[in-house]
Homo-oligomer: 328 residues x 2
């Protein structure tokens, strides 16, 4: 069974999905959909058209799964339910507190249209969530810890860019090795936000800007930086372009649990990612789950789902027999 | 929904399952079943009866899932299909070449009885398999490597014990750090058996035995040791009991893949386990999947399955809403 894919939104994540779909022989990219003027957008895949988003109203018979690559703040809460009524859809919605509301909205729309809407897919939420769940189920007496990085946080980079006098910025989230080691030892430490991660910022300032003031505004910024030990480096635009143009990321979910009489035996489960390109990896997860969404919907399953609801075999183009032979 | 569990076979794994079931508030151990005289068996759980295996013919209305803790060589090929006709069953069958045949036998029996038979569950096959599958689906351009240890291999320990002049033995499988580092670097090395693992043996010899001959027989033993660099230590029975009585194990599945134009971006996914007790951890995996087997069968699903076919949510006693709130 092959899957015809549409991509809605062509930022970093949209390009990551495009690159992933090209590696899946059973997937075909039908088109990229944008709110911009389609003629202004040049995409990487030769021969694939760019459409205005309005065209989605008329292409339901040409697309099996629409992968929605928008922001969680305003795009996805509106877009995913809207298109779940017309298409099988996937998004990477990551505003944790609003997941119940988003799930309910997508569920209602998808069920009405007989479609499947898979939300909060990617690596966190996504593969990290799946690993937290597996570990808790296997070892009910235990505790999970998630560390992110070393990697670029786009939200934190954007927050720095909004400061007066800043031309550009890149922020790295870095896990504290001592905290990771304490967790891996099975000692179940209580860790504060500050003890788990540090933040390192590379900032291009406007000429003549007050660097001390910018640094102070960064390190004291509530929610983003004030709870962390933050280092600020001022560099040139050339240095930023040369040394910090990638979007690497990663992290690890470390779970420690006990079994046996008097909880005598300790076990450590660790799932870790080291990614050269956050959007290309996230796009790869979305493409694999697009296959699952299409297959499940073909079997008559509709409504909102998350990665928790998808059996691993559905992510693969191979038969059950092949999977057992190669991977079991 | 609570699950009534039977355990067939009371060796290390049976005791591991018993200890896991005790940690799951929604599971109840109904009985332990043995081919031995039940009166000779004392189990750890107070108040739970031990039955002769023959009783299983008459207890189908008292047990929701039977966890079969036998050996893959002769026990499971016979037992799992036999009891899959009467009960939802789970086993940890790990003879890779015979999985197609075992799966077919269990499938036929389970379908006839309207039951579910989950085979090859545990950590390898099991959680390691699931991780190999997820990684291949996400990054189709890539390669998986599995390392085992440091941990006790019971099969290799038994093989040493069969040598003339050996009273007891413990064999550790140890991954080679340089090989792991080469894999993590993303260089996709081709590794021989010898390059991936070493083997370390602690042997208690009979008094006056020819130690040089025993050592030679170990390191040259085909299939078990001849393809590895093997170290042999002769120690006393007291030292073996004092320093080597545990059954620790673990290992890691490392997957490296690429994305993007010219495969420019590398990604490393690693799933690793560090287990104080191999049988208690394996038993914990079986107990979690017992919950899934029971729930799926209650929904009308029958036949043979593996961990590939089970959505993660089925392993948990929590509702979808609770899972999304806590783990997504």
């Amino acid at each position: 069974m092959s899957t015809r894919i549409g991509i809605l939104g062509y930022g970093n994540l949209g390009r990551g999905v495009e690159s992933a779909v090209a590696l899946n022989p059973d997937q075909e990219l039908v088109g990229v959909f944008t709110r911009r003027d389609p003629s202004t957008l040049k995409i990487n895949t030769a021969g694939v058209p760019v459409y205005n988003v309005e065209e989605l109203e008329k292409m339901t018979d040409q697309i099996d799964v629409l992968i929605i690559c928008g922001g969680s703040a305003t795009d996805l809460p509106e877009m995913t339910p809207k298109y779940a009524a017309l298409y099988n859809v996937i998004d990477s919605f990551d505003t944790h507190a609003r997941i119940p509301e988003h799930f309910a909205n997508v569920d209602a729309a998808a069920k009405k249209g007989g479609k499947l809407g898979l939300i909060s897919c990617g690596w966190d939420p996504g593969m990290f969530s799946v690993n937290r769940l597996y570990s808790h189920c296997i070892l009910p007496e235990g505790k999970d810890y998630t560390f992110w990085g070393k990697g670029v946080s786009q939200g934190h980079s954007d927050a720095i860019r909004r400061i007066d006098g800043v031309k550009d910025a890149r922020q790295y989230t870095i896990p504290v090795p001592a905290a990771q080691d304490a967790v891996r030892s099975g000692s179940n430490p209580e860790l504060t936000t500050r003890q788990k991660h540090t933040r390192e910022c590379f900032v291009v300032a406007e000429e003549g800007a007050d660097l001390a003031r910018i640094e102070k505004e960064i390190v004291e910024m509530p929610n983003y930086f004030s709870d962390y030990d933050t280092t600020v480096h001022f560099i040139s635009a050339e240095e930023l372009a040369r040394d910090h143009s990638g979007l690497p990321h990663g992290g690890s979910v470390i779970y420690t649990g006990t079994t046996g009489a008097e909880k005598a035996n300790k076990h450590v489960i660790e799932y870790s990612l080291k990614l050269d390109s956050n959007p290309e990896f996230t796009g790869s997860v979305l493409a694999a789950y697009a296959r699952a969404a299409h297959r499940l919907n073909s079997e008559g399953v509709s409504g909102a789902k998350t990665s928790f609801d998808i059996a691993p075999a559905y992510l693969s183009p191979l038969s059950g027999e092949e999977l057992r032979a190669h991977f079991l």
